[in-house]
Symmetry: C2
Subunit: 160 residues, 2 copies
Amino acid sequence: MEQNVIDASGLLAISTRLQRLSDQIRKDGLLIYKAFGIDFQPKWFPVLYTLYKKSTMSVVSLSDEIGYAHPSTISLLKELEKEKLIRSKKDKVDTRKRLIELTEKGTTLLSAMEPVWEVIIKATADITNTQNNLMKAINEVEAGLKEKTFLQRAEVYIKK
Amino acid sequence: MEQNVIDASGLLAISTRLQRLSDQIRKDGLLIYKAFGIDFQPKWFPVLYTLYKKSTMSVVSLSDEIGYAHPSTISLLKELEKEKLIRSKKDKVDTRKRLIELTEKGTTLLSAMEPVWEVIIKATADITNTQNNLMKAINEVEAGLKEKTFLQRAEVYIKK
DNA sequence: CAAATATACGTAGTCAGCTACATATATCAC
DNA sequence: GTGATATATGTAGCTGACTACGTATATTTG
C-alpha cells in the first residue's frame, strides 16, 4: 500500500486522485456498452437519462438538473442531435427557450439500455461496497462543501 | 437529499460526480494558494512534490511515480522550466534519459509551501472526515479495480 | 410604458489530462 | 557485432468539462 510519493501525500493530491478514478471508470463504462453492442457514450448519460425521466426540458433547466454549465450541455446536445437521439423546438410561450426531447430512436435506445444499466449498477455496487462507500462519501463531501467551501475551511486555519 | 434525476441515478453517473468534485477541489485549492500569496498551481503538485521528495528523476520514472502518461508530464515540465522551478540534464550513462531536478528557486518555493500544505491537509481532513471517508473509499476502490476491473466485474453479470 | 435588469441560449477559447505516432538510443539474442 | 526488440523522450491533436462574453427576449420597476 501507498508505495509512491503521491499516494503518500494523501490529501494533497486528492483532486488528481479523483480525476484519475473518474477517467478509469468512464473508460471501463464505454467498454461495457461496447460489450453489449450498444453505440452509447458514458458522457451522454446525464442528458439522455434526464430526458428519459422528465421528457421535455429547456437547455438551462436541463443543465441545472445534471449539474453542468450550459455550454457543456449545448455541445452534448449538438452531438446527440447529429445522432438523431434528440430533437428540439421553440417554446411558444417563452420564445427564448428551446425545448429538448428524445426522438423515437432515442426512446428506443434508452429502453434497450435498461438491462445494461442494471449490469453497471451491480458492477459499481460490487466495487464501491467497501468499508467506506464511495458514493456515500461523495455525497457527504459535496453536502459539506455546499455548507462551507474548502477555502472557507482553510481560512480558519490560516487566520489563527 | 437526492432531488434531481442524476443524483437519483446514483451509480450510473459516478464518473461525472467524481470529475465534478475533483474540479471543485482543484479550484478551491488554487484560491488557498492565492490566499497565502503563493504563485502555485494545484496541477504542479504531483511533479514538484515528487522531485522534492526524491531529488532527481527521469521523465518516464517521474510519470510512473505520479501516475500520469508521459506526455502530460512533459507539458508540465515545460511549464515548470519556464517558471525556473526545475531544470534538466542528460543522463551520462543512458543518453536517452533526461534527468529532472528542482532549481534553488524550486526548493525554496517548496519549503515555503510546507505550512500551506498543513492547512490544506487540515481543511481536507475536515471535509473528508464524514461517515464514509473519501480518501479511504478512493483507496479501497482503486485497490479493488487493480484486482479486477470494472469491465471484468460487469462481465460476470452479462454472461449469466 | 420605457428603461433597467434578469434570463436563455449561443460561440469562442481554455484547461488538464489523454492517445497515437515518430525518433533516438539501449539491450538482447544469436 | 548485427538485427530485432524494448525503452525514453518528444510532438500533434483529442476529450470533456469549463469560463468569458455576446445577443435576444422577458420581466420588473419607477
